[in-house]
Assembly symmetry: C2
Homo-oligomer: 129 residues x 2
């Protein structure tokens, strides 16, 4: 068993976002994805991001206001959101007083057959709310 302590993780600022990437744990090929935590102070908006990796994010604290295609989805603590490859996104922390903390796993499409597309093209009604 290994224990990864968020409060002890090394992080760096990427614009207004504090990012703690898991490369610091030297996990090699132990996981079929890369991982990070990121946090944003109240009122902060991330830079627009767009990358080839598919990204699954779990909101741990606060609420992520996830802007995709001009629409914002509020993702509350405990819930999750999945971004497709090359899907542009902006994350807002619109809270007045609460930090936003997110765990993200990300991987290149095609990883162990995963392409991300099924999640985005498939019937979404049961999950999109």
């Amino acid at each position: 068993m290994r224990h990864f302590v968020r409060g002890a993780a090394e992080s760096r600022s990427v614009g207004p976002v504090d990012v703690a990437r898991w490369e610091q744990y030297f996990l090699g090929n132990a996981l079929p994805f890369q991982a990070m935590w990121y946090s944003m102070a109240p009122g902060i908006t991330s830079p627009r991001d767009c990358h080839p990796e598919v990204e699954l994010s779990i909101v741990i604290d606060g609420t992520a206001s996830v802007e995709v295609g001009g629409e914002i989805t509020e993702v509350r603590a405990g819930s999750a959101f999945l971004l497709g490859s090359e899907e542009p996104h902006i994350i807002h922390n619109r809270s007045a007083g609460e930090e936003l903390l997110v765990f993200s796993a990300y991987w290149m499409p095609g990883t162990s057959g995963a392409d991300g597309s099924a999640a985005l093209d498939g019937p979404a009604a049961e999950a999109d709310q």
Copy 2:
């Protein structure tokens, strides 16, 4: 973008543990792992579990007291723990009043080269605390 709402997820009881598996989202091969949320009321101990899948867990609410090899590690909200393939484990929620909520990703060793062993055999001092 897809949104997975924890509060709206279908779950079932596995002994004293409430488990919401992500098979309900019909993600197909979109992710290179399986996923679930699980929650445990205060004072609850899970059955001893042991499975071939490597499992990475993120604590969202509460504190997971993770028992492996007779030792207990306290994993607080925001932090994570990684269990190896066939590593027996028991999860306790030793809080008097707080629910434990965990997100877990799990996959078979060998998934996209991932074997889990590097994480468990490698130098762990920087992460085990």
